[in-house]
Symmetry: C2
């Protein structure tokens, strides 16, 4: 109880519950502000984008990871290092197409909805965790990777798992170089 | 990199930066919604109250602390266990009156403002972290302790430290019993 504040204070580790409840308060506020679910989803994604753009520096500094050499490595990094670091869970990753630029992050358990029973009937189209998509998109953009990030399945909507789809958008020049 | 998800997933520990940035997005949204700083402060406090009311169960379960026998013990518990658990820092605690029901939590460093440079000039009365006051108030109320919780000093406003004041409100019956 009486150990003095010291080095351990700077390890940046916290329990996630205050975050999860604060996120819930943010979504509730946006639902008050915007009538349409689509508008809330868009706003959460945009807000997340702004967060991702700033979070990437922290991630690179704290994880000390090397440059990824493939989309597959990048997807693994997001799931196994970033999700673990910021949400305390590790989604499984699978590649969803032969071109190798579409990936799914599958969350058996989504800590962000820990305190959410279910979506209210009038909010059936809400992507409650859409902030995460924006965060991933924003962070990837800062390491020169354009991507589309969306929820493909959501346990809050009755799906068996929660699935985030990441599609890396290849640039025309990239394709040319690879041929 | 390839360790399977397992027991460690459930330790609930995360890096706080995503939380800190998400909190910033919440405050920014409220500043859009409410013109007056006082209204934002009130709203943050109320929102925090709702969070504290729900967070207390998590805190009691996770910390496995025993019942506090004095206001002083309670203030220490908030600083040394709860702040450490949910924000990763340990404020110092001092009692501010002879009656022994007023306490100050002093934060040399407030992680919630990690990404905040300074308050905009037009938001000089904003209590940026007022959510915390509400959280403490709500959580205390659930263990039958009424309290007033406010920011007394704030580094964001140029003060040397950030100081949260907690005044436990004694009930008339309590006083009677103690005599």
């Amino acid at each position: 109880m009486s150990r003095p504040p010291g080095r351990k204070q700077e390890n940046h580790k916290i329990s996630r519950e205050l975050f999860v409840l604060t996120y819930g308060a943010l979504v509730a506020q946006l639902c008050k502000d915007y009538e349409k679910d689509e508008d809330v989803n868009t706003f959460l994604d945009r807000m997340g984008y702004g967060i991702g753009v700033r979070l990437i520096d922290d991630f690179l500094a704290r994880s000390a990871v090397k440059k990824c050499r493939s989309y597959s490595e990048t997807a693994d990094m997001i799931a196994q290092v970033a999700f673990k670091m910021y949400l305390g869970v590790t989604p499984s990753v699978s590649c969803s197409n032969t071109a190798g630029n579409e990936f799914s992050l599958i969350l058996d358990k989504n800590p962000l909805v820990d305190f959410v029973e279910e979506l209210p009937a009038e909010r059936a189209s809400l992507c409650y965790c859409n902030l995460l998509c924006g965060v991933i998109r924003g962070a990837l953009e800062m390491v020169q990777l354009a991507a589309e990030v969306t929820f493909l399945q959501d346990r809050l909507k009755g799906d068996a798992v929660t699935e985030i789809g990441i599609t890396f958008l290849r640039k025309a020049e990239d394709r040319k170089h690879k041929r």
